[in-house]
Amino acid sequence: MPVAAVERLQPAGLNAGAAASTAQPFLRIEAVEKRFGAATVLDGVSLDIQDHEFVCLLGPSGCGKTTLLRILCGIETASGGRIVRRGQDITALPPAARRFGVVFQSYALFPNLNALQNVAYGLRGTTAAQAGERSRQMLDLVGLAAHGQKYPAQLSGGQQQRVALARALAPQPQLLLLDEPLSALDAQVRQVLRGEIRRLQQQLRVPTVMVTHDQDEALAIADRVVLMHSGRIVQDAGPLALYARPANAFVARFVGRMNLWAAVPAGPGLLRVGQALLAHAGARPAGPAGPLLLGIRPEAVHVRPLLAADFALARDEGAGLAPGNRVAAVVRGIVFCGAHVVLSLDAPTLGLPIEVVLPTPPGEQLAWAAGDRVVAELPADALIVLADDDIARHAVAAV
């Protein structure tokens, strides 16, 4: 809920990553394709990466995000398209010549070298003393100054990943590439290291591309999130914009949770869901008129008890109306999730369940119980209209 709220406060906000600068980007990915035999893994991906920018490639497994990263660092070669760095085509450049730092999910630390030697590995063309000094600085930067003599097997997973980060950053790479760097770590270490990666990136101002399948991670860390599916970019936007204005139902489902109901147009700014007529503020998707979906984030739904004064509501609903986008509903289930509570409501007029997320109230009582009769308000400016296209249905099947 807080994220969506902020987005509404700052509609043209600082997070609109799509508002790229007009200057030449640091890296330009042009229609990159990758095929393995008959399988197309990347289907014409184009993307710009600006100086100092933190970009997350987000998507379900098999969407091609890791392949794109491997093509960026030169380990994999593209079947088509170009990669241009500041106007220079580097598509055919071997990894060693690119000067990009890479951090792998499995750390890939050399088991026979200690932490310092690992960090110094990429420092060529310097004296041993300089390399040692630089490695110590880098280890210090990731908070491992005291562990330089330890071998990878003697370090914890989080420490190994810090060494890997220091090793990638030591040769002052022009671009930092992170391949699911946190997914092998447990939840707490992940949180901490996530913050540290972001801090380091901002301190060193190195453009960074991180691959992840974890939407929380992407939203929390990135300046810009590039959501991929089946080898294509589905949406490329700042984290808040991605959350508030998903381009289609796949994005809506993949990033956060969303109630999505089949809807039929019923006049300007009006859609019919079940028997209820709902007003929406946002635009309808352009293009040929197909089936539509009406969506709302669970935390955007307002819930209050059904009062005697709502008698009129019941009567209006009988007439197929939902005045003020309000519908009567019954609490079917309630799940306590720590910081928040998830209610599932049955709204007879919609004919479909509504999922609602509420902050957990203080004390040991939840505000609601199964069987409570309530009024659910679906604010018009929180309702999103999406096309019910193939990709959306495919995504549902995958989930």
Binding site: I75, A96, S106, P111, Y121, P152, A153, A168
Partner: protein, 561 residues
């Protein structure tokens, strides 16, 4: 048992037979592996009057200059062969696993061919190529092939696949991400080789060196055929026992042969432990990138090695069908008319087939039972540990020493198993024990693929453990079991070392016939018999591979996802 059986946990009530089986297995292994080796040790420590003389026999042996020299020569030649063989195998394995070499399956197949032939075949072929009537005698600059040079070349040729298997496994299990990380950090090919490839292969190199060293020290086929006047430990043992009937001195040499093997056993254990510790990171396979110059150089190298191997094997085949090598090369099958030759006869081939089949069946049954008893029961931990140690012990016992121990132990008049002596059964049992360790270890690995929780589930369902073994463990191990059967069969066909002391006239084996015919100067029939063994082993391997495929397709559908 409990007075209230309804309350007794079924798991406890039913494990009695497991303990009994473990005890029985220990007793069997003690009889057929431990006691024969013990008999060898005991004999080497007593004099002719039955007095304990400690190491006096060893002192006497090493005090004889000629004998001490052959001991020293054994070590020297084995070290040299191991170094050369490991170096060649390393480059070859590198080409097979980490380069974009073309025709990899072909090169791999060719390099593994020597596994299918007795080491004698390589030696006989060397004689044909470089011997007194050799085809290329003039080309050979170093001097006569008979002697140390011949021993080293022949040993390198037949031990190559052993080193290759160890090294390609070591190189193939290196984490591919390490190569990628090194590349992105700007390391060149040589730097990657020295910082990633070589450190990862270090244990493999140690293992390959040790294994080849022991194989060469304990092999007597090659030095017997091309050794000439250069005697080594293994030929000394043979001469002492078969030539001079001096079992005591034979036992002394046998114990000396045990030492390097014990060393390798120890190296294998300590290195194996560290190797597994180094591989805990989640490894991803490395996909080699093409590099024209390197790939071309490796292609050249592999072609040369494969060419030599094919030539050596080809010459044996060719010579076996030649009328009179090298003067009359008209094709003929007269060399295969073994019944016309002393020391052979087609009967030996039949004996070998029968012996190898029995060994494959008995070996599989024994190895599976042992592996199951070591891994699956939950109780009797100490006894199972002991059983495991005994099952892997034959790894450290060279064939010659085992064979000699069998004579000493089973030929004692007081031994109730004396009846086995000079029958087929002793050959089968001895061969099973000889090759048991590797079979045991590979079946143990196969069994350990299954999570412990399966057995707990079965137990909680009240299913007896033997039924789980029959319904789950055996089917899961079927591919590995076929592999093991093939291993037993091929080794039983090709082995000479242990059985050379144990055969009777009516149980003589084809591999021994090769030795005897060569000894009698009938080199062409010896080559013919060696080629026949080679062809049989190859056919058996193909048949087992085919059966394995069939089994995989029919019964292993659960492996697919």
């Amino acid at each position: 048992m409990s007075a209230a059986p309804a309350l007794a946990p079924p798991a406890r009530a039913n494990t009695g037979w497991q303990g009994l089986s473990v005890g029985l297995a220990i007793a069997l292994l003690a009889t057929f592996a431990l006691l024969p080796v013990g008999a060898l040790l005991v004999l080497s420590l007593f004099d002719a009057e039955g007095r304990f003389v400690a190491l006096a026999n060893f002192a006497a042996y090493l005090g004889t200059p000629a004998l001490a020299e052959s001991a020293w020569r054994s070590l020297r030649l084995a070290a040299l062969s191991a170094s050369i063989c490991t170096a060649i195998a390393f480059v070859y394995a590198y080409a097979l696993t980490l380069s974009c070499l073309r025709w990899k399956p072909f090169f791999r197949g060719v390099a593994l061919l020597p596994l299918l032939a007795p080491s004698l075949l390589m030696a006989i072929s060397l004689v044909y190529l470089f011997g007194n009537q050799g085809l290329l005698k003039g080309w050979f600059g170093i001097g006569s092939i008979y002697g140390e040079t011949g021993i080293v070349i022949g040993s390198v040729l037949w031990t190559l696949p052993h080193a290759l298997l160890i090294l390609s496994t070591a190189l193939a299990t290196t984490d591919g991400r390490l190569y990628e990380a090194a590349q992105t950090l700007g390391a060149g090919r040589w730097r990657i080789f020295f910082t990633v490839t070589l450190p990862a292969a270090r244990y493999g190199l140690v293992m390959a060196l040790t294994v080849v060293f022991v194989l060469v020290v304990t092999d007597f086929g090659v030095p017997k055929v091309v050794g000439g006047q250069a005697s080594v430990l293994a030929t000394d043992l043979y001469k002492q026992v078969v030539g001079q009937q001096n079992f005591r001195m034979g036992a002394v040499v046998g114990v000396l042969l045990l030492l390097p093997a014990v060393l390798s056993f120890w190296v294998e254990r300590s290195v194996g432990r560290r190797q597994s510790a180094a591989l805990t990171v989640r490894a991803t396979p490395y996909e080699p990138q093409p590099h024209a110059a390197t790939d071309a150089a490796l292609l050249l190298f592999c072609s040369a090695v494969a060419g030599v191997l094919l030539t050596v094997i080809g010459v044996a085949v060719f010579a076996s069908v030649a009328t009179y090598w090298p003067y009359d090369l008209t094709p003929t099958l007269k060399n295969y008319d073994f019944d016309q030759t002393d020391g052979g006869g087609w009967g030996t081939y039949g004996n070998s087939l029968w012996m190898a089949s029995c060994t494959a069946v008995l070996g599989c049954a024994v190895a599976f039972t042992l592996a199951w008893l070591v891994d699956k029961p939950r109780r009797h931990g100490a006894a199972r540990q002991l059983l495991h140690g005994m099952a892997t012990l034959p790894l450290a016992v060279p064939g010659l020493a085992l064979g000699l121990g069998y004579i000493l132990f089973f030929n004692r008049p007081g031994n109730p198993l004396n009846g086995m002596y000079a029958t087929m059964s002793i050959l089968v049992v001895c061969t099973v024990v000889h090759f048991l360790a590797v079979a045991h270890l590979s079946l143990l690995t196969a069994l350990r693929q299954l999570d412990r929780e399966y057995e707990l589930v079965a137990e909680s369902l009240g299913v007896p453990a033997w039924r789980t073994a029959w319904r789950v463990h055996l089917p899961v191990c079927l591919p590995a079991l076929l592999e093991v059967a093939g291993y037993f069969f091929v080794n039983a066909m090709t082995t000479v070392s242990a059985v050379v002391f144990l055969y009777a006239p009516h149980t003589q084996l084809a591999s021994v016939a090769v030795l005897n015919m060569d000894d009698a100067g009938d080199v062409a029939p010896a080559a013919a018999m060696a080629v026949l063994i080679f062809a049989t082993a190859a056919a058996a391997r193909l048949a087992f591979a085919g059966a394995g495929r069939l089994v995989l397709a029919r019964t292993q559908r659960w492996r697919r996802r």
